[in-house]
């Protein structure tokens, strides 16, 4: 790098804006939660101690900081409920992400290969569900899946089954709900990379003797990796912490971490436990992501 040019105040402000935004609305709340996670649970309002006051002297702050404890984290390890919730959430999210990918890929491919004038319409259709409230769409699935719901009634009317299938309040219902709700988040990044692909690359592969299946596996798929990763992250990360879908469509056995958190927070009023669970969740999601990003950068820079 050559000598640095001095930045004007305006330029500094423009650069600072996103950092301030992240600091104010992401980092600060995270720090608050981290602080609560090492506090002690008490029967009070708010239900944790210590509480720092603006009037505290340094000595008082130090004294209060002495009371910080990792009890909540110890509880996370000792109570298998948390471990099970994490594993269950990660599994559900992983399965849902995979199904979303398998469903979205052919759609994205069809959209990317559709005549150019049709594409804006297809994107509009893919995004159309967002025009309705997310909550209403999940409720609609209840109407479809429950024992006397549309699907069971139809199957019974056709004589295919004699008793209603248990679909509502199952793990399967949760997966269906997640796949349905997050499909556009997979579809759009996939479409974006596939649409950008140079068609002459596929022609070149075919010209060199690749069958249509080989063209897909050797050229189209590897070149869409960025879209697959982006889509998978956009589905997987919110799916792990998903609360509404398992709450509405899941049964009593679907203990996803979002629900456990909710219970700790609202039912048990154990804010430190809920905060610790949230912090661990962020760590579980962020660490692999950072490692992957570092590997990718090293891969691109070095070679």
């Amino acid at each position: 790098m050559s000598a640095r040019r001095k930045l004007s105040l305006g330029e500094r402000l423009v650069i600072a804006a996103p950092y301030l935004w992240i600091g104010a609305f992401f980092l600060a709340p995270m720090l608050l939660i981290a602080k609560i996670s090492v506090s002690q649970s008490v029967l009070a309002r708010p239900p944790y101690r210590p509480i720092f006051e603006p009037s505290d002297s340094l000595a008082a702050i130090w004294a209060k900081a002495q009371t910080f404890t990792f009890d909540a984290y110890r509880a996370l390890v000792s109570d298998t409920l948390y471990l099970e919730s994490y594993l269950y959430s990660l599994t559900i999210a992983a399965v849902s992400t995979l199904i979303t990918l398998i469903i979205a890929y052919p759609f994205a491919l069809a959209m990317a290969r559709a005549p150019e004038r049709l594409r804006p319409l297809l994107i509009g259709l893919a995004a159309a569900p967002f025009w309705t409230s997310f909550l209403i769409r999940v409720y609609a699935w209840i109407a479809l899946l429950k024992d006397e719901g549309l699907i069971n009634n139809a199957l019974m009317a056709l004589g295919l089954i004699t008793a209603p299938l248990q679909m509502f309040a199952t793990t399967g219902a949760v997966v269906v709900g997640i796949v349905y709700s997050y499909l556009p988040f997979m579809l759009l990044p996939l479409y974006a990379v596939l649409e950008r692909q140079d068609p002459s690359l596929r022609e070149a592969a075919a010209d060199l003797g690749a069958s249509p299946a080989q063209v897909f596996l050797r050229v189209t798929l590897p070149l869409s990796r960025e879209g697959v990763v982006a889509g998978a992250l956009l589905v997987f990360i919110p799916a792990v912490g998903e609360f509404v879908i398992p709450d509405l469509l899941g049964g009593s056995e679907t203990l996803m971490i979002g629900r456990t958190l909710w219970n700790d927070f609202f039912s048990n009023h154990d804010w430190p436990a809920a905060s610790a669970a949230a912090i661990v969740l962020v760590a579980v999601l962020m660490i692999p992501l950072l490692l992957w990003e570092r590997a990718r950068l090293a891969d691109e820079g070095g070679a």
Partner: protein, 350 residues
């Protein structure tokens, strides 16, 4: 010619209402360097894509070694193509790009390694085998594209504007490389180009195309000296079009506004209106003596020659090349001479 390697018969192709190819017939021999030359939109690329199998003709047949190719997908055709954009696989390194076709043929690892290394050496890319495509210069990419297309030993190599993306100096160097590689591999090359110099320099035979039709198929010298149509004469090289009436009595000549110009009459009847195409360098320029009188309007120094614009009649200006060393000034009077056979008589336009 013995049985041609590639035989194109009455091929037509339309895109919607646009005619891309109309009744195109061509033969390309084994080991031949063939050029499809024409302005953009003349159908040359469409014809090449029909041969590769990316487009299928609406009518007519394309046969390779006597086997009709219609219905044969691109991956089953023993023809490879070098794309104008090169279309190199960005996720594979140089070695794997070149090996791509060989791997599809299911060759052994050793055979693939040997063949790729041979091609890397032929295209002077040996040290670049492990480079990523993004790390290559334009000239290197061009060579990778050539090596990749040659690797599976195609019967015919199609090259779509192979030198189009290179700068002028590199283009000239690459022309020689391309010719040498073609000679060494004994593969038929069919090149698509809009650059007449490139076609003249590289090809054994040239098909000049215009608006979906083939205007003339001939060797470079014949295309240049004996253009069949006004379009070919004008597209390939510089020329003068001289209008006149054919006089077949005695030594045939074209009667023009500014005098008699000797020519070979071909099969045109006496008294026919005709156009003679004469290259500037075929017109003799002298200060005095025999010849048609004209006045220098303008001149451009070209190094080897000086191109003069000479007014021979009130509404006719001819271009003539004076050889190096002769000096002319604007307004000078000169004598232009037309040796027999200097020009080519063109059939009337359809």
């Amino acid at each position: 010619m013995s049985a041609p390697l590639l035989s194109i018969k009455s091929v037509s192709k339309k895109f919607g209402a646009v005619v891309a190819l109309e009744e195109v017939s061509l033969d390309v021999g084994a080991g031949e360097f063939f050029a499809l030359l024409g302005p953009s939109g003349c159908g040359k690329t469409t014809l090449m894509r029909c041969i590769a199998g990316f487009e299928s003709p609406d009518a007519g047949t394309i046969a390779l070694s006597g086997v009709d190719l219609s219905g044969v997908p691109p991956n089953r055709r023993p023809v490879n193509m070098m794309f104008q954009s090169y279309a190199l696989f960005p996720h594979l390194n140089v070695f794997e790009n070149i090996a791509f076709g060989l791997r599809r043929q299911g060759e052994t690892r050793d055979a693939i390694d040997a063949r790729v290394n041979e091609l890397l050496a032929m295209t002077q890319l040996s040290v670049f085998g492990h480079r990523r495509i993004a790390e290559l210069s334009g000239g290197q990419k061009q060579r990778v594209a050539l090596a990749r297309a040659l690797a599976p030993r195609p019967k015919m190599l199609l090259l779509d504007e192979p030198l189009g993306a290179l700068d002028r100096k590199l283009r000239e160097e690459t022309q020689f490389q391309l010719k040498e590689i073609q000679r060494r591999t004994q593969t038929s090359f069919v090149i698509v180009t809009h650059d007449q110099d490139e076609a003249l320099a590289l090809a054994d035979r040239i098909a000049v195309m215009r608006a979906g039709r083939v205007e003339q198929v001939a060797g470079p010298m014949e295309i240049y000296d004996r253009p069949a149509t006004r379009f070919v004469a004008g597209f390939v090289g510089e020329t003068n079009f001289i209008e006149g009436r054919l006089d077949r009595n005695g030594a045939a000549a074209l009667i023009t506004e500014f005098g008699r110009i000797p020519c070979e009459p071909g099969n045109l009847p006496d008294g026919a209106q005709a156009t003679l195409s004469v290259r500037p360098e075929r017109i003799g320029v002298a200060r005095d003596g025999e010849g048609i009188v004209g006045f220098v309007e303008d001149f451009v120094f070209r190094g080897e020659t000086t191109l003069l614009r000479v007014r021979v009649a009130s509404n006719i200006v001819l271009r003539a090349a004076a050889s190096h060393g002769e000096r002319h000034a604007i307004g000078d009077s000169v004598r232009l001479s037309f040796p027999p056979g200097a020009g080519a008589l063109l059939a009337e336009e359809r």
